[in-house]
């Protein structure tokens, strides 16, 4: 299976982020790790969403309180103790709410079918099990529990300490170092794992979504002649000047359908073949060349012969 990974078919993602995930069926899937910046961006987006939830909560609480205050004004003015009691209960509820939302948000979405929070979805990344097996709920819990230690708690301690005004510069520096060590942990291992990922056996990968494109040159060469009024036949030697890399470049040009680049490639191929480039028939020429080159290379593949690019010798 390892050889399957080799063909340079993937065009997106940095080479160092490419990994092979072997499914239980034994087929290797090319996956790409999410970059540190995508991870950071997703976290920031998630923080925005979580804070929006908090703002909504506080708005609702505020309105409820306003309503209560107006409705039971006499009761409260007669009994200020009750106000304090109510406030303290509300305070406790709020602390618990903040804590539950913060943890529940990540758990709920990462345990969902897409394995990604809103932030991760927007950036097209998701959580996956490193060993290619099932993503266990415990793994999701573990990686998010560590997020609490890595990120939320130190920030919370620091903000409370500085709000109280009794932060010594030592605790401040220690806190900042703590956060930075955990934040940069993922930059120092090749699989871009933060501590939580390491512990949980997970990593964050790109979640590709792609539409099936049309067949590049769908027509039979006979009908191509009918379509374009021209039919090109290339000899083995004329097809032998290119390899798979050039074929895929040609495929991209044909899929894009930009006349300008078609013209450029057409002229380049004609020059290489020693033909006099004409005009107005580029598409037919390229489609024919593409089909015949692919036919030649694919029939070579069936006999185990591959040619990566034009610099590699034939066979």
């Amino acid at each position: 299976m390892a050889r399957n990974a080799a063909p340079a078919l993937r065009t997106s993602g940095l080479t160092k982020f490419r990994r092979m995930l072997v499914t239980p069926e034994g087929v290797g899937l090319n996956i790409s790790l999410a970059s540190a910046s995508a991870r950071f961006g997703a976290l920031m987006l998630d923080m925005v969403f979580i804070n929006l939830i908090y703002i909504a909560y506080f708005l609702v609480m505020f309105l409820l309180f306003l309503g209560f205050g107006l409705g039971f004004e006499e009761l409260f003015t007669a009994n200020p103790e009750a106000v304090n009691g109510l406030l303290s209960i509300l305070f406790v509820v709020t602390i618990l709410f903040i804590f539950i939302v913060r943890n529940g948000y990540f758990l709920y979405f990462e345990l969902g079918p897409r394995g990604a929070t809103w932030g991760k979805r927007i950036l097209g990344i998701r959580v996956a099990a490193r060993d290619g097996g099932r993503l266990a709920p415990e793994a999701v819990v573990a990686r998010n529990l560590l997020r609490e230690v890595e990120f939320f708690l130190p920030i919370q301690f620091l903000s409370i300490l500085s709000a109280q005004g009794n932060t010594s510069s030592f605790t401040l520096i220690a806190g900042v170092i703590w956060v930075l060590v955990f934040a940069f942990f993922l930059m120092f291992n090749k699989d871009r794992m933060r501590c939580g990922d390491l512990l949980a056996g997970t990593w964050v990968v790109l979640a590709p979504k792609q539409q099936l494109t049309e067949v590049v040159a769908p027509q039979d060469s006979m009908t191509s002649a009918a379509r374009y009024g021209a039919d090109y036949r290339f000899s083995d030697a004329e097809l032998g000047i290119y390899g798979e890399y050039e074929l895929q470049t040609l495929e991209r040009v044909l899929r894009d359908g930009s006349e300008e680049s078609e013209r450029t490639v057409y002229v380049a191929i004609c020059t290489k073949l020693g033909w006099e480039p004409g005009a107005g028939d580029e598409r037919a020429f390229l489609e024919n060349y593409y089909t015949q080159l692919r036919q030649k290379l694919e029939s070579g593949m069936r006999f185990g012969k591959r040619r990566a690019n034009k610099y590699e010798g034939e066979g």
């Binding site: 303290s88 406790v92 099932r134 415990e138 573990a142 560590l146 099936l212 590049v216 039979d220 593949m301």
Partner: protein
């Protein structure tokens, strides 16, 4: 042609029709299977959107087959087609299908239910050795704190900072000590609860776990220091003849809280031990397995700490009778012990049975 040899004869006509459309063998391969891929794509899209109920029964039944067909189409395409658009489509589709077919089997709420009905207890039982070690360390720490202060009162100030002591020092006035054990009103409850959540013991618990990474040694040190502090404070109250009241004051929430700290320390130690002694597994695999068990334990610890916070904030401030404090504290302890000892046993036995069966089978 290879495809034709395997196809039923009925398909031969369709094959001829395909020959007219596509000249390349790999394009024909694709056109023959496209319908399956589109169908799989639709099912997966529904699953991703969480609309399981919108998928028909036939589609649900067909999903595993469609998935395997697509996986095998991908391996064939890699070896026989140079259409990179097709291959990257199949890669993406297979990955998406793979994540659905091998995705988490339970959602958030189902997992939470399973967690309470046995998952947590099983994880706690799985790290029993670490819990025993930590409990011994805790007892030793408390004894050391008590004995040290008993030998020389200056130790008290080394162990307990002036902030934390707040007047509770050796030889302090009995009234001051008594007041510190008393109740308070609702406003105090609030500040105590708030202080608790971000304060000492919750921190101790979470750091005891997090520092397990350093082979578990900081976890042990942290727990020892904390319990030494407790032992030192106990001495002050015993010295003033209020030992029973102090233990009551401590017990109402302390049984839950100290147990939570013990579990957190044990979870940290569990990871630390896996790092130091991975056994036959690789380090990474050993850490990972220990990490998963510890994470479950720690989820429970967090919930226990919230409960302890409520008890400390409200229970202790509002209930001042020592006997009732004892009753609440120790019935909770009994509850935890029974809960961890007995829940989730059946599934454990079942798992053992199946693993034994498969062993005999092999």
């Amino acid at each position: 042609m290879a495809e034709q040899a395997f196809a039923p004869h009925m398909v031969a006509d369709a094959q001829a029709a395909l020959d007219d459309i596509a000249v390349l063998r790999s394009d024909r391969f694709r056109l023959e299977r496209e319908a399956d891929w589109t169908r799989l794509d639709q099912i997966i899209t529904m699953l991703e959107k969480g609309r399981r109920s919108r998928i028909s029964d036939e589609d649900s039944l067909a999903l595993p087959t469609l998935y395997r067909k697509t996986v095998s189409a991908l391996s064939i395409a890699r070896e026989s087609s140079l259409d990179s658009g097709l291959i990257s489509y199949l890669e993406a589709l297979t990955s998406r299908a793979y994540y659905q077919v091998y995705g988490p089997r339970t959602g958030f709420f189902a997992w939470f239910a399973a967690f309470f009905s046995g998952g947590w207890s099983r994880a706690v039982r799985a790290i029993w050795l670490d819990i025993v070690i930590i409990l011994l360390v805790m007892v030793a720490g408390a004894v050391v704190g008590y004995v040290l202060v008993d030998q020389n009162n200056d130790w008290y100030f080394a162990l307990v900072g002036p902030d934390m002591a707040s007047g509770r020092v050796p030889g302090a006035d009995t009234d001051v000590l008594r007041r510190s054990l008393g109740g308070g009103n609702a406003e105090d409850s609030l500040s105590v609860f708030a202080a608790f959540l971000f304060s000492n013991n919750a921190q101790v618990a979470i750091f005891a776990f997090a520092l397990g990474f350093a082979l578990g040694i900081p976890s042990i040190l942290l727990v020892t220091h904390n319990l030494a502090l407790l032992g030192a404070m106990l001495w002050v109250f015993v010295d003033a003849g209020m030992g029973v009241e102090f233990v009551g004051w401590l017990s109402i929430h302390g049984t839950t809280e100290l147990l939570a700290i013990a579990l957190a320390g044990a979870a940290g130690l569990h990871i630390g031990r896996a790092m130091a002694f991975p056994g036959k597994k690789t380090h990474l695999a050993a850490i990972q397995q220990a990490g998963l068990t510890s994470a479950i334990v720690m989820t429970g610890v967090v919930l226990m700490l919230v409960l302890a916070g409520l008890l400390e904030g409200f229970g202790r401030q509002l209930i001042t009778d020592t006997a009732i404090r004892y009753a609440i504290g120790y019935s909770l302890l009994a509850f935890w012990a029974a809960y961890f000892a007995f829940t989730g046993r059946r599934k454990e036995a079942l798992a053992r049975q199946t693993s034994e069966d498969s062993h005999h089978g092999a």
